[in-house]
Amino acid sequence: MSRQTLPPEALDDTDRAILNSLQEGFPLTPRPFDDAGAALGLTGAELIGRLERLRAIGAITRFGPFYDAAAMGGAFCLCALSAPQADFDRIADLVNAHPEVAHNYARDHALNMWFVLATATPEAIAETAGQIEAETGLTVWRFPKLREFFIGFRVAA
């Protein structure tokens, strides 16, 4: 995923309206692009064309259903470890090699690597964390969510 900011002229008002509107939801209807486009003054084909372009320029990272691992009987867990700077990239490769690692960020703190495990079963969180500990020789601190407060997903485009 690109961390480059797009120049302001890369998005016109219609692109911004699409980004704002489709963060809220997308219809479960036979012709969903026609239906979503109608609210934006676009035909379905025009909306598809815009979305293809927004994806190509990196303005959107994903489009589709967002699944909840816990509701599927699986689990999510935020984890952190302290990787020695000199060994950071090798440790990141070891961590990222696990398909259970959904995302991973370097952060400026003594705990400098923060990643999320998403697994098909709750038990697999501890198993995967244990494997990462065995491979890296580092303690994997686990921070499962105890409570989730209102989540606003929206980013104003």
Partner: protein, 160 residues
Amino acid sequence: MTVLDDTDRRLIAATQAGLPLVEAPYARIAADLGLTETQVITRLSVLHARGVIRRIAIAPNHYALGMTANGMSVWDVEDAQAAGLGEKVGALDFVTHCYLRPRAPVWRYNLFAMLHGQSRAEVEQKRAQVRALLGAACRADDILYSTRILKKTGLRLKDG
């Protein structure tokens, strides 16, 4: 815990990377899975109603949209007040995620709130608003800025 049947699992596997950008995406998925379009729409609707699907939507790239500063603000809040204050922090319109999490021997913070902005200065202003809201119930806080995305694939379930 929600019981998913084999068809649900195939449907999840076929859609977790995204929907096809075609006029009738659910019909396309149905054809790939040997189902009807109505079956796909009905199953996805049921999964949505059950909370297995949190939403069907686009995820914008924060960075592309200029939100280049991303800080995980963390707060050591008195346990008895943490749930009530977490609700208030989560309700702030600039907080995108807010969770209560356990402390650890190397980690004193129990409330996590993600803050995004066009600059670190903007994120720090937001952090100051959270600090003001928490008041004396907060004993210490920190913020961890992301310096690099090492991986971002989203949820991928293994087969079975």
